[in-house]
């Protein structure tokens, strides 16, 4: 018997709980040259902003111990060209489409999501709230419960399908942000975005990326992401969780499910093995068969804590 890999998040059904993470799969076109996107539970686009953004000058990435640092600078085509040029391709893919949205003011999130509300094939939006808010002196939306709540509440008014809030790990209490997102009307949480980091070239004395600081991702951050998922899952917040951070194998994925994630997103691993989702899907079936489990859903939250 083939185990059931399907999951439902905020009423949206996914053929499997394996998604690709924002910024790591473009708008899908390039990855479709590696494997059929129909293999994915869903695809999360690169963050879309109101205007087109060119991003930071290179170098934008650096290798680190067990991971990488990046500061791409939210390079993207902007909402208008996204709708015109990218949606037509995405619409044809047999997978769920989640559009990740970023902004530097609440009004930008609202404006973009209002446009996306008219695109029926956009199954969900994912709000990247790890962005500096220019209205309040560059504080990141996602580090303040009230800013988080306000942002989501305002988007909620214009976007009628489910909203995922993508949380940043660089906070004292991620469960407070999770609860604020729930208060604001989010339907699910993506945990976590990249971790703030820095790398310097000891010979040139230059930071290795032009933005000086960037986001740490990959296997190095997996334990941090897992602890964050566990913390949110055990908080008063009841939203379903999509786990992200350093997932490269089916074993990694299972850890996230056990700690309370309903689905996961694969980011950096795609750079090393672009067909990671396909391998994980096969591995997951094998894992469930080995454990004689009928459904992947039976793994969620089953960690046996000491």
């Amino acid at each position: 018997m083939t185990p059931d890999l399907s999951v439902t998040i905020a009423g949206v059904s996914f053929k499997n709980p394996i998604l690709t993470a924002s910024g790591c799969c473009g708008y899908g076109e390039e990855l479709a040259g590696v494997f059929s996107l129909s293999k994915l539970g869903g695809l999360v686009t690169k963050s879309i902003t109101r205007e087109v953004r060119q991003g930071h000058p290179p170098p934008r990435t650096a290798e680190t111990g067990g991971g990488m640092l990046n500061a791409i600078g939210l390079a993207n085509v902007g909402i208008e060209r996204f709708i015109e040029e990218k949606i037509p391709f995405l619409e044809k893919q047999k997978t769920n489409i989640i559009v990740n949205v970023a902004g530097s003011k609440i009004s930008e999130y609202v404006e973009i999501c209002a446009r996306l509300n008219d695109q029926p094939r956009v199954d969900m939006v994912e709000l990247n709230i790890s962005c500096p808010n220019v209205d309040v002196g560059g504080i990141e939306f996602g580090t303040q419960p009230t800013l988080t709540e306000d942002t989501i509440r305002r988007v909620r008014q214009v976007f009628k399908r489910p909203i995922i809030a993508k949380l940043a790990p660089n906070v004292t209490d991620i469960s407070a942000i999770a609860q604020a997102a729930e208060q604001g009307g989010a339907d699910a949480l993506a945990v976590i975005n990249s971790v703030v980091g820095m790398v310097v070239d000891p010979h040139t004395w230059r930071p290795r990326i032009t933005n000086n600081k960037g986001g740490l991702t990959g296997p190095a951050i997996k334990p941090i992401a897992l602890a964050a998922v566990d913390r949110v899952y055990n908080s008063p917040c009841n939203l379903p969780i999509i786990g992200i951070g350093g997932i490269a194998t089916v074993d990694d994925m299972v850890e996230f499910l056990l700690c309370g994630a309903t689905a996961v997103q694969i980011g950096t691993a795609l750079f090393v093995e672009p067909d990671t989702p396909v391998k994980i899907e096969a591995g997951l079936k094998k894992y469930l068969r080995g454990k004689k489990m009928a459904s992947v859903r039976d793994l969620v939250g089953k960690v046996r804590k000491y």
Binding site: E63, L270, F271
Partner: protein, 264 residues
């Protein structure tokens, strides 16, 4: 887009080309043997302390045996590990990647400008043009380096029958000076010919070649390098600025760009 394959194959041959240069041949490959000149592959290094794959231009492909050759110089961590591969070792490669060189027109004189480790894609270009019946005497193969040991595989280039122009800064092999200077001389000496430049090498050399092309009104293509996390166009990590503004991905929109296209 051509389908990208991830293939695990076997190292067939490793040749020490001296001065830290090595050639590695592996196969048989399936889809990856479709690599054309200017395409590159992404090689996985079997140790996770080197996080990313490393990009390597294709230096030759044997279509019968479906074997592919890369040539590299030991530079940092990745290439040090790469040099440790031995015949019989498994090797994991991803390809074909990128946009390759376009074909010259029948009448055009082809000027290859190779510098240092920019040599492999031009070797492949010249080899496959000759194999496809292009007159080798219509190919000028410039190859610049600091000194004699930087000009590798000379016999192999000569055997192609192309006009070979080694150039070294110290004059220890071929002409003395900078390669682009000698390229300019040749173009000036043949004002009536249609020529096309193909260049790959260090940034300074590419910048000069680009300028030379613009100044002399000569079309051509430059194969660029950049650190590449993904190699398949999804991370936006490998960008170069464009003259028209904005950035292009070296891995997906390149690595081959037209002269005048990128802001070097």
């Amino acid at each position: 887009m051509s389908k990208i394959n991830s293939e695990e194959t076997v190292v067939i041959r490793r040749r020490d080309l001296h001065n830290d240069y090595y050639s590695l041949t592996f196969g048989p490959l399936k889809g990856i043997s479709r690599c054309r000149p200017g395409h590159f592959i992404h090689v996985k290094l079997p140790t996770s302390d080197i996080f990313f794959r490393r990009a390597m231009s294709v230096a030759s492909v044997n279509p019968e045996s479906r074997e592919l050759e890369i040539i590299f110089k030991v530079f940092g961590r990745g290439t040090t590990r790469l040099a440790r591969f031995r015949s019989g070792d498994p090797i994991d490669v991803l390809g074909p990647l990128g946009v390759g060189f376009s074909k010259p027109k029948k009448r055009e004189r082809v000027i290859c400008v190779a510098g240092g480790i920019g040599f492999p894609p031009l070797l492949y270009l010249a080899t496959s043009l000759v194999a496809a019946g292009f007159d080798p005497k219509q190919i000028e193969f410039f190859y610049g380096g600091r000194s004699a040991p930087d000009i590798i595989e000379r016999q192999r280039i000569r055997k192609l029958g192309v006009n070979f122009h080694p150039v070294t800064e110290d004059g220890s092999v071929g002409k003395k000076g900078l390669v682009t200077h000698h390229v300019a001389e040749l173009i000036e000496a043949r004002p009536d010919e249609k020529v096309r430049l193909y260049a790959c090498g260090p940034e300074g050399m590419l910048r000069s070649t680009n300028q030379l092309g613009l100044d002399m009104g000569v079309p051509g293509e430059l194969a660029l390098e950049a650190p590449m996390p993904c190699g398949i166009g999804v991370c936006l990590g490998c960008v170069v600025p464009l003259t028209k503004g904005g950035y292009a991905r070296v891995c997906y929109d390149g690595p081959v760009f037209q002269i005048g296209e990128v802001a070097l």
